[in-house]
Symmetry: C2
Subunit: 245 residues, 2 copies
């Protein structure tokens, strides 16, 4: 399934007791339709408040419900803050996370002095001065294969499952561009560490404020130390844009 | 003050005990700044879930805070779902409701089959067939001075204050237009009765579905009977667009 969700309503992707999560909500809705106990698997976890435009999710079912009917059946029961956009049958060896070749995230900064109330859940309101050109120059420096330890939060889930323990990832594209009152960051890579995109954004903000120079981004990468990089940007501006297979 | 708010977070405009309202939230924030007990007056009440792009609100203060400083002071404390857009001093005889010459409301219908989760709070998702041209013809028939009793909810507040008890209002413009996946209704009038715009939208939907003919709108106006008209459309699609003085 490909699904979109408004992360503001959820304590993140991963199922947790007594708190609404996207995975938990989906599991309960699919269970109501198929009568089976299923735990849908996503292409990756998103944190509380992080949005998805096209998260990829699989589940295994022996239900006789035709594949084409699942979309309407699931959307009819889900809250409007989660929408299934597509459903299709895949080979049994397809794995939403391990089969992914690339993921793209987007981050939205709102730059005007007053943030419309209708955008507050969906951007980071940052009306302070920024040199947007040097931010883009700094962003370009993370392209390529690097150890991203400096931009990785300690992940409480690491080691519990089958994720690779290396912090080396390849970034194919990393750039900032203006769109009206918004400054948008797009990053496409082979995979992302916990909080990596939000920590990159927090660091590029320091470049934009002239606290750091663009070249400091390369130095920070080399230091492999989380405390070298900037603060974690708020979840509200972050979107999982798409996943490629 | 001119302010915009996301109505989904509030039980409407009017102050109520133990539930978040726009008026109550503003009163408490202004009280923190001025040390005075104030009840800001709006150009009109909006119901729970109804949004405002440019609500007009006045309050009386003897505070020494310069007018120009109120905007930032209030916005710094308000939740991001309410934003003050402008603050100015007005003559003591200016009254946000009684001085208004015209108000414009907008209603957003989302027409595509799947409503993006980021729009769910801000539109009425109506993916069913509608003849949009006849809806616009029906809408045009309410222009002019009419008794709008058929489109008015019984208002628990009527008679308690100084509102005129007549249900005669003048509509200057009433029309539907397409904008991408949205069908937008705009109505500009001298004033509006309780639930009037939502009841008009619910009636135009019946015209679009061919349950009613456009000319039935004129018949319903003449009957002065709420049960002649359609159901009340959901609050989520309705916006107070602007108020003219």
């Amino acid at each position: 399934m490909i699904l979109s969700y408004d992360g503001a309503d959820f304590s993140g992707w991963q199922v947790q007791p007594d708190t609404p999560t996207v995975q938990g909500t989906l599991a309960s809705v699919i269970g109501r339709i198929t009568g089976e106990k299923v735990l849908p698997q996503g292409s990756g976890r998103t944190d509380a408040g992080v949005h998805a435009l096209a998260q990829v999710v699989t589940f295994v079912t022996e239900s006789s419900v035709p594949t084409a009917n699942f979309l309407k059946a699931i959307n009819d029961i889900l809250p409007p803050s989660i929408r299934i956009l597509e459903v299709s049958e895949v080979a049994a060896d397809f794995h939403a996370r391990r089969s992914a070749h690339a993921k793209t995230y987007r981050y939205r900064l709102y730059r005007a002095s007053i943030c419309p109330p209708f955008l507050a859940r969906y951007v980071w309101h940052y009306p302070y001065p920024l040199d947007e050109d040097v931010m883009d120059r700094g962003a370009a420096l993370i392209a390529g294969e690097h150890d991203f330890t400096s931009f990785a939060a300690v992940d409480p889930e690491r080691g519990r499952d089958d994720e690779p323990v290396s912090n080396v990832r390849t970034v194919f594209q990393s750039s900032w561009r203006r769109d009206g009152d918004e400054l948008l960051y797009t990053v496409r890579g082979s995979g992302f560490l916990h909080h990596m995109v939000r920590n990159l954004v927090g660091t590029f903000i320091l470049v934009g404020r002239k606290t750091l120079k663009p070249a400091d981004v390369t130095r920070i990468l080399g230091e492999r130390n989380r405390s070298s990089a900037g603060a974690t940007a708020p979840a509200s501006g972050l979107y999982l844009d798409n996943v490629e297979y």
